[in-house]
Symmetry: C2
Subunit: 229 residues, 2 copies
């Protein structure tokens, strides 16, 4: 550092646990907003989510100074800020790959639309599924992924195929230019570093629940795992 008083170093990147909590803050703030509240303090926000007030302030401070000493945070403003940070202030055209039980269910899940994740393109390599349409969208072969990325501006993909097909599909998705994968298949995916993968593993979560009930019941520890529901 050449000039000690001009801090040109980039700010610390936020740990991923912080990003997860940011989603929870957003949801709680939206709820407070619907109730007509205008401001909230870090301790009030923390209490609603079971978190420490210092943690709320520190998490938000990774991204900027959004509060006013003595007053707290203006709810509407903070909602706008967090939406921008998370990137949910715009549409995310998304491909859904694999139209088994889980894939078809996700297609109907309203929670995605609410956050502007738009499933605009369906893929399944089972010939019996091709030609069919779900929700008005035709089912295509994954060979058509590159064309769909170009035509529809796809940016994310949800992979809902069986485990033994998941890595192959992931490779296709990546080479088609998609940069974010939500993986519902029960297997680890290996992708290049410029691609992000979020794993949604229902079995892992159910097993965690079984473990807690089996081993911890009565021990007194509330075991609220991962991002609160």
């Amino acid at each position: 550092m050449r000039e000690p008083h001009h801090d040109t170093s980039s700010p610390k990147p936020a740990p991923k646990a912080v990003v997860g909590r940011l989603s929870l803050y957003l949801r709680q703030l939206e709820s407070f907003g619907r109730q007509g509240r205008e401001t909230v303090s870090s301790s009030q926000l923390g209490q609603a989510l079971g978190l420490n007030d210092a943690q709320v302030r520190k998490d938000l401070a990774y991204f900027g100074q959004f509060g006013q000493p003595g007053l707290g945070y203006r709810i509407d403003d903070l909602v706008v800020e967090i939406r921008g940070i998370l990137g949910v202030d715009r549409d995310w055209p998304t491909a859904l790959i694999g139209l088994g039980n889980l894939g078809r269910a996700l297609l109907g899940y309203k929670g995605f639309r609410l956050r502007r994740f738009r499933v605009v393109s369906l893929f399944d390599n089972d010939p019996r599924k091709q030609g069919h349409a779900f929700d008005g969208l035709p089912v295509r072969h994954t060979d058509e992924l590159p064309a769909a990325v170009a035509d529809e501006g796809l940016r994310l993909a949800m992979i809902c195929v069986p485990a033994d097909a998941a890595q192959r599909v992931a490779d296709q998705v990546v080479s088609a230019g998609i940069r974010g994968i939500l993986n519902f298949a029960p297997t680890s995916l290996f992708v290049p570093p410029e691609v992000s993968v979020v794993a949604v593993d229902l079995s892992v979560q159910l097993e965690h629940l079984a473990y807690s009930v089996h081993n911890l019941h009565g021990s007194g520890a509330t075991d609220d795992v991962s991002a609160a529901g």
Copy 2:
């Protein structure tokens, strides 16, 4: 401690991150087993999951000494051990509450059956759903939860109702005697300490993906979040 050479202190409880990885080890070991392999070293197991070898050994050591120096771990034996630790070596009779899109999908999801989570009882307080059956199971009112717990030995519940009904349903579930909740509703649940809650929040996970693609793309960081899919 009165007798320094007789360590009567209880072993350290495993952090929940360890329990999550235990599920991943189990799945990978089962896969190795299907391939006909007999033993695996901590570094081989770690590599298949993108984890450090020391972490694999340390995680397993929370629960006992399962390996042999120079040889590694016997796959079949370790599978049996981990199943026992997680509690997935027995059936888990489970209630499914809320039969919207997501609830009906979960009912058909094969991954649960594979791990011996049996959905044996359905609940929904929408009068239009009552009398209907899904998968051969009748839909009942949540008022009947206590009777179902007694009759069917229910131990877990999956809550798939809208956010504004989730806490009310959780209270009913808890007072009916259920000790473990898988919460799919997008809201935090508050329960007594002897009840475990695992939150499955698809929006939080999708938002994390949006954040990574939006802010980190090209930065070189693989961002494999939570338990690998």
